[in-house]
Symmetry: C2
Subunit: 164 residues, 2 copies
């Protein structure tokens, strides 16, 4: 979870500025605010989460701008976009530098997302793809279930039964 250390975030922000300048794109207050908010996040915020947090900070960014800026950040490789199958995207800071690709636990109860890594998993996937003459580009691994907090309590039946 400790994705963005205090000043790592600052470094990322600087990287974003440079990136914009290099592309000869305007460095606007909104773009910086959105980027900062994502870099600051320790979780996997959705668009709405980000918008709410920004508003709380006094930055009322328009929805369209938010989407467009996030596209920019994703293209730039500074941010990752996830689709956990709930109908909307979630975002997180991409590994500051050569971050190990990581997988996700998604709690079906509270929606919380935790992470884990497993090199062997990835190697195995690449090999399997190769065997089937499939050219590997990327992968996604999600484990759905109950997080430590939620597994204690007894609720009614799950509303979600989604993922394969």
């Amino acid at each position: 979870m400790p994705r963005p250390t205090p000043d790592e975030a600052a470094a990322l922000a600087e990287r974003f500025r440079r990136l914009l300048r290099d592309r000869r794109l305007p460095v606007t207050r909104q773009r910086l605010a959105v980027a900062a908010e994502v870099f600051r996040a320790e979780d996997h915020p959705s668009i709405v989460d980000l918008q709410r947090r920004l508003r709380a900070r006094g930055e009322a960014i328009g929805t369209a701008t938010l989407y467009r800026t996030l596209d920019l950040l994703v293209e730039s490789g500074l941010v990752r976009r996830h689709d956990f199958g709930k109908g909307f995207n979630r975002f997180e800071t991409a590994a500051a530098s050569a971050a190990p690709p990581h997988e996700h636990f998604v709690c079906q109860r509270c929606g919380r997302v935790a992470e884990f890594t497993n090199d062997r998993l990835e190697r195995m996937l690449r090999m399997t793809a190769d065997e089937q003459r499939f050219q590997y580009h990327a992968h996604r691994i999600e484990v759905h279930g109950l997080c430590a907090e939620c597994r204690g309590r007894d609720f009614g039946p799950l509303g979600d039964a989604g993922a394969s």
Copy 2:
């Protein structure tokens, strides 16, 4: 790919009927038609695919009914729902009997979906979940890339860069 053998489909249909009777739910022409269409499919059709195929067969099923019937089939465990992150669901017949859970290759070019299985992968995931005190319910593994057909041709850059 050879998911539903000729008469396996018939068996599944029968199972669905029984299931409806047991639940005291009406066995309607529409429900049977939708179920049959999914059981017959050799691919991972979307809602629209199914609707088109049914219409071609002379069965004009309403969108709402289609969604509701698919929910029913998924709840029953006869059909699996997948969300490959394109904003809409795709379906497939669930293993006739204790089918090995399987993973997917998704071609970023043509959208085709191929499958593979790997017991070790699943075991590894369960173990990892356990280590993190996460209660495993289900998982999803997708490999994104280019299928054998598409990797030959040279197109422009990919429009998709999605999955983590």
